[in-house]
């Protein structure tokens, strides 16, 4: 069995399409420690966002300076800075099945690059909802722009592109997977991945593993979440794993009040997971159960596999193990935050682990081969919604802290103690870094119908207080090693994290600065005010120079040493 799996995986890497030399992604890069390139959502499969690059380091980062900045304009317009001037304009390729031009401003208030950006062979590939670009990693100038005419959908963000050989993959808010030629931006095909009529919307960055394109979707009505594997050549479905039971006999059905409740129980998977090449397990987090804030009899129980971490064999789509972080969630606290694979000591012995900081305010360490629970600890000081931990290490929900008619004072707020902005882990310090918030809100129940509300309905929430932190957690105990509060009287989550072998931690703060911290103790060593940072910083090496790349709204900034 094991040999067969390995054979299959090896075979997959030989099935790559004919590549344009110098352009295509060498899949071997994906399993190497993160270095010169940034070929997938988290840089590599481990989710660590830890780069082995150390040209820029704690000793010299003070002299790091701007290499270039480049502005991008979403939509079908031709006013992009890169298309003006004396150079020939970058080609604009238009696709899509809809009629709406949801460009800058229509749904989301302007071009906002929240995505992870790929850097492969000196070219950057970036995205916003309905838009993909290629840009030169040496100076940021635009090489092509693909624009998708939408049918609608929630345009809240796009988490990035996936790459296989010479092809790029993008999800669209109206639920298509689009395959583009990385060299030209021309569309190769697009396939429907979810039913727009059922109010699905798709934001996830596709993850490429062997000859599997892994995708997920979002839904704020009550439709079931799933992870799906697609063929990179044809886009056809290879397997589908549902987050909730969908038929009689399915595992976990006993954790729901009814099959209809389970079938409408959500658990959407909208952030990429991590991958362990040794076990072929794709390990990811699932979203909240639905309806999110009400407790109809149809969702009585723990509501598997919502708010869980799940390990699925990438070849078969079969679940190997799961652990539910948050049984019967009642606050829309998704557990989709990227889990990080850590190889390290635990109780004095080497162990293969997976770690995760949840929107619910708790940090978890598990054995990633078996799913065995090792650590749970509350990293949010304020979190007050649980009565304690049960013998599985799961927080026990206090029903009095559900939304109630006279109001419940709950921490965290709906946004959570952590959220999608990616965390990072440094093997040098043994610390896990996460953008965190301490918040309080009043949750009022506005739907007393015993059948519950649908989707996110039935709740009126009033935010009372909020403060944002960079939080460093020891995975062995779950205890906070240090945390840095963003100054001021309010403020929430900052953005995602990058850590490097240069002993640095980079992230965007709440005040519009890209900041470098000493990864060991959180001391600030460098900063630049560039506007509200909108994605997690990344790094790459090109022509002998290391770059730190970050997005702030509609612009990319690259910093380097000269």
């Amino acid at each position: 069995m094991r040999t067969l799996k390995h054979f299959l995986a090896a075979g997959a890497f030989c099935l790559l399409p004919a590549m344009a030399p110098g352009q295509a992604l060498d899949p071997a890069l994906l399993t190497k420690p993160l270095g010169d390139a940034w070929p997938t959502y988290s840089g590599d499969y481990s989710g660590k966002r830890y780069s082995s690059l150390q040209q820029i380091n704690a000793g010299n980062v003070k002299t790091m300076t701007l290499a270039w900045m480049s502005k991008f304009t979403a939509g079908p317009g031709t006013d992009s800075g890169a298309r003006r001037g004396r150079f020939s304009p970058a080609p604009l390729i238009v696709g899509g099945e809809g009629t709406a031009e949801a460009g800058a401003g229509t749904f989301s208030g302007g071009t906002n690059i929240r995505a992870s950006i790929l850097q492969v062979n000196g070219i950057l590939y970036l995205s916003t909802p309905d838009n993909a670009w290629a840009a030169d990693a040496r100076d940021g100038h635009e090489l092509w722009h693909y624009f998708w005419k939408t049918k609608g959908g929630t345009h809240i963000g796009n988490r990035g592109l996936g790459m296989w050989g010479n092809w790029l993959y993008m999800e669209t808010p109206d639920d298509f997977l689009v395959c583009l030629d990385a060299a030209t931006g021309k569309e190769r095909w697009h396939k429907q991945i979810a039913d727009f009529n059922l109010q699905y919307f798709s934001t996830m960055a596709p993850i490429v593993i062997g000859n599997h394109i892994l995708i997920g979707t979002g839904n704020d009505l009550d439709e079931p979440g799933y992870v799906q594997s697609r063929d990179p050549e044809t886009g056809e479905v290879q397997w589908t794993w549902y987050s909730v039971p969908t038929k009689k006999g399915d595992l976990g059905l006993e954790t729901w009040g009814s099959l209809d409740g389970a079938r409408h129980g959500a658990g959407n998977v909208w952030i990429p997971g991590s991958y362990d090449p040794e076990t072929h397990l794709y390990i990811f987090g699932t979203g909240n159960p639905s309806p999110a804030y009400t407790n109809p009899p149809s969702r009585a129980g723990d509501n598997l596999y919502t708010c869980s971490i799940v390990a699925v064999n990438v070849d078969t789509g079969k679940m190997a193990w799961y652990y539910q972080f948050n049984p019967h969630d009642t606050h829309d606290w998704d557990s989709t935050e990227t889990p990080i694979l850590v190889d390290g000591n635990f109780n004095g012995k080497p162990r293969k682990m997976v770690v995760h900081a949840d929107r619910n305010g708790y940090f978890y360490t598990l054995d990633r081969l078996t799913g065995e629970h090792l650590v749970t600890n509350k990293f949010s000081i304020a979190a007050n919604w649980a009565k304690g931990l049960n013998d599985k290490g799961q927080p026990v929900r206090d029903p009095a802290k559900d939304s109630t008619v006279p109001g419940s004072l709950v921490s965290p707020n709906n946004g959570g103690a952590a959220n999608w902005p990616p965390p990072a882990y440094s093997p040098d310090t043994g610390l896990f870094y996460v953008p965190a918030a301490e918040t309080y809100a009043m949750y009022y129940l506005t739907e007393t119908d015993p059948r519950g509300a649908m989707g996110l309905g039935g709740k009126d929430e009033v935010g009372l207080a909020s403060s944002g932190y960079v939080t460093a957690i020891d995975y062995k105990t779950g205890k906070v090693a240090w945390r840095h509060r963003y100054p001021g009287t309010a403020g929430g989550l900052g953005n995602g994290m990058l850590t490097t072998a240069g002993k640095l931690l980079f992230t965007g703060d709440a005040g519009g600065n890209l900041v470098a911290y000493n990864a060991a103790n959180g001391n600030i060593v460098w900063h630049s005010h560039i506007g509200q940072v909108s994605n997690a910083p990344e790094t790459y090496m090109l022509d002998g120079h290391q770059y730190i790349l970050v997005a702030a709204g509609d612009s990319l900034f690259a910093f380097t040493l000269y």
């Binding site: 049918k151 006279p406 004072l409 649908m454 309905g457 009033v462 009372l464 207080a465």
Partner: protein, 290 residues
Amino acid sequence: MSFKKKLSAGAILVASAMAQNPTPPVPAAATPAEPPARRVRPQAYPTRPPADPAALARGRALYGVHCNFCHGSDARGGEGGPNLLRSQLVLSDRSGETIAPVVQNGRPDQGMPKFPMTLAQISDIAAYIHSFKVGGYDISRMVPLSILVGDAKSGAETFRSKCGSCHSVTGDLKGIGARITDAKTLQNNFLMPGVGGGFGGPQRPVLTHVPPTTVTVTLPSGEKVEGVLGRIDDFVVTLRQTDGVTRSIRRDGDTPKVEIHDPLQPHKDLLPTYTDKEIHDLTAYLVTVK
């Protein structure tokens, strides 16, 4: 009980069969946006054009007679029948074409009888079902519910212990229950003065005056610079002095010394200490302070 489960299962089987045969999706109509004051999500999903009022009236009557009992008067489920609004079959239906086979054939094994109706009648029923809003946030369903469940007498005690060192119902809070007549607004404002609306609910007016946050910066020379806090991060603090001049001062770690005076800090410090009962009791008490 088993009847209920069987019926739900039946509906699902039909739904998955129908999903193989998708109908052309409707383009997102340019519906007017919700008023900006209400923080609801954009209506970005397929919306249906308004139905012919006569068909709607016929459909309502037919639904009331034949469907209402099992599926509820609002189509969100009733005695045994599932919620139709979020049903995959109904969401994929245009004008009765996917609903008709279920209605005409029934699900006898699942307890749903067949209804000998014409396609025209089923189309009318479909028009009626499709006239309901399909979404999570639905302000129209937010019935104003009384949040007054607390004990005013206990609330008076709590007021003395938690609020009394700064506030008085005969002084600054005189007549607070008459000034802020909506109990929920009053509750939000004693918890954190100045908070406005909800997330997922209507915006409420800001009825309390909150003095500005001020800041004192002690420069290395010993000079103190004071004013209203503009913005602060780890690198710059900006303030407006009483003479109207705005000053921006570089920060480098603990130099210069910066002290923020947040008038809401005592309220923030109280948040971890409240029980929900104390909050409800305080509300019940403060509404009586007329």
